[in-house]
Subunit: 412 residues, 2 copies
């Protein structure tokens, strides 16, 4: 009797709107390629170490379920933030992992995640090679932050960018409708501690019928608050409402996060804890003080990474594709690799799955190139827009039940 | 030659996702009923006093434009927050208004707005009757807050409720995916200073595949923070992630806003101004302190009133209907009235436009009835859900251009 060929898949790190589309791609392709069981580890490698996993055939019963999974935000299997120790630091953990893999007759291990997850793939594949284990380890990229190296972009980014650009258009209209004889400055705070990809995507709101944000500040360029004030003051002479997009991670030239400015007068909460007022909240208070205008801060917060109701069709399809490509690669004998997205053509936009050695990828952070930001650092260039625009195209209409988007949810 | 029959329409107060659908209803019905010119006042009565208006036929060129207008959030004509003085306080303003109306040969004046707008309709219709002017004044309700009396609900509420319930489902999934061996409490802050309609709508997230928020607190019921802590502590024993929805306006039994709690240790910003930390931010800090769990605050902020990309079909259609009904009423000789929505039937849901004397309406605030909140004040009842659920049904697919929802924008 032929040995059973089983496969296991996990999800790790911050959620995105399309991380489950990659899971769907793994499942469907594994079934098509004749894998026997497709296991899902619960809460990534952390849950796996507790032997938490499910047989995905108990969860996914039809092509309809697969379509629903593609439209479900956040990690269907649960996620974790867990970095494996180095092999020499804790060999027992590795013994344990491979013990479970052997018990489940796992031939391939697919991990969907960001930099830490690729580190996991690297360590497990190294260990397998050194110890003579036959399992294959493949990574599938995922992060709204788009900060993974070697891939043209990451699944999850396009949908977050689409939601952010849509919300930016709506916030701009909201502000314009309200501004008459009372000027207003709106500061929108977008996720991105070091990389400004998402904040730059607000520029997509600049369309035939929308002026777009007036200023855009990314963490890649030092933030000069005096010049910022001057820009705002000049703009307010020309129009009653200005909207500024800032990354949460913008810093002054001396390396201080803007959200940490104000020195001793930082927010001390009612319980004596020093809190960071948000970047937008700080700048809104600063501009109110300096200009006398009404200001407001809008934080997109966690909504921007889980808004599957405004996902990009390109993004969902690419997420599905890289999930499937990882299974194919493992099935063909690859290990220690991450699937990447290669941009084949800009116009018309075309992409294809490629594959890279995970040793070249792990722990590199891809930032927005300086020449994709204007010289004075207050906007992104047309090159930036040309790069992002294809990634937000097309929709996946949510399956609406009783007026709300339906999701596929784990049954235990 | 017959006298020209012109009509003017304005928008006032906070934006909604469907206030322009009412404008579209006014325009289309006015044209169908033979009005010559349809003027739009810019920034409501405040702009009108500066003689700021447009001929809407220069803006709306086709049925396609009308459909686009129905999908455009925020006030197309610009809004204002301006309350007319009493007639005896400043008769000159009234003289001026009627002077402009006569000049433009206006027969009917339609105002889309909330309580303050209905006050404007009341004063102008009273003045016209007293002074023998022939113009008709009609109000069209609008507010996401749903706090207008005598109408079953207000246009704008259903779409905001739909967006809030959708975002709540997505936030719950986001939190669940992340919670493993690290408990997390998420506090969502929803608009509503005095009325909890929108916060209660988070209960719609409770569906077959979503547990919904764990606790819901409305401003109508005094908020007991000790009991709240106890509830959270008990819930955390049962599940790793809990999500709590609170109105921005919840108050302790002695009338203190929760966002003002903490006494002298309120947030003093870097510029020495005392700031209110948000309600959710306060409660998240409180729970972190008391329970030691990870907590986070999510403020839906201005997004919830301008998210036309997740508008309710019922809401857009009703907003259109009440706009048209106001024109019809004016055309048939009514004045000093507000159009209302009457609920004809719950199952199947059916509604119709009714009409009320605006003197009965102005400045009454409709709150959530106490018996639509559970006895202990930590959730809404099935009656509440039955009331809201029909209002979020159906979609109006946005017109997507280049991956983003398209809006109709005023050309000057």
């Amino acid at each position: 009797m032929a040995k059973k060929r089983n496969i296991i898949v996990g999800q790790s790190g911050g959620p995105t709107a399309v991380i489950n589309s990659s899971l769907a791609g793994v499942y469907k392709t594994a079934k098509e390629r004749g894998f026997h069981k497709v296991y899902g580890m619960l809460h990534g490698i952390e849950g796996f170490l507790d032997e938490m996993y499910v047989d995905l055939s108990t969860q996914i019963h039809s092509d309809m379920d697969i379509e629903l999974l593609k439209r479900t935000p956040s990690a269907f299997l649960g996620s974790c933030r867990y970095k494996l120790p180095d092999i020499h630091e804790n060999p027992d953990i590795y013994e344990k992992i491979f013990g479970i893999l052997d018990k489940l007759e796992i031939e391939a291990f697919i991990y969907i995640g960001g930099n830490d997850s690729m580190d996991t793939i690297k360590k497990l594949s190294d260990y397998a090679i050194v110890k003579g284990h036959s399992q294959k380890f493949l990574g599938v990229p995922k992060t709204i932050d788009n900060d993974l190296a070697l891939t043209d972009h990451t699944p999850g980014f396009g949908s977050a960018a689409k939601y952010i650009a849509t919300s930016t258009k709506e916030v701009i209209r909201d502000a314009m409708g309200l501004s008459y004889k009372r000027n207003m400055i709106t500061i929108m705070e977008i996720m991105g501690r070091n990389a400004g990809w998402l904040t730059g995507a607000t520029a997509l709101a600049k369309t035939e019928e929308c002026c777009g944000p007036d200023l855009i500040y990314l963490p890649e360029v030092p933030f000069d608050i005096e010049k910022f004030l001057k820009k705002c003051t000049d703009l307010m002479k020309k129009k009653p409402s200005i909207v500024v997009a800032v990354s949460e991670g913008i810093k002054t030239p001396d390396g201080t996060y803007v959200c940490q400015m104000g020195g001793g007068s930082d927010y001390v909460d009612a319980f004596g804890h020093k809190q960071l007022a948000g970047t937008a909240a700080y700048l809104a208070a600063y501009l109110a003080e300096k200009t006398g205008n009404k200001t407001r801060a809008v934080e997109l917060s966690t909504l921007q990474r889980s808004a599957s109701h405004m996902a990009s069709r390109v993004d969902i399809n690419e997420a599905f594709m890289v999930g499937g490509a990882a299974v194919k690669a493992a099935d063909e004998g690859d290990t220690g690799k991450m699937v990447v997205i290669d941009r084949v053509s800009d116009d018309p936009y075309m992409s294809a799955a490629g594959i890279y050695d995970v040793h070249k990828i792990a722990n590199n952070e891809k930032l927005v190139p300086r020449n994709w930001v204007t010289r004075d650092g207050s906007y992104v260039t047309q090159d930036f827009i040309n790069y992002v625009e294809p990634l937000i195209q097309g929709d996946y209409q949510p399956f609406m039940v009783n007026g709300l988007p339906q999701h596929l949810v784990l049954k235990r």
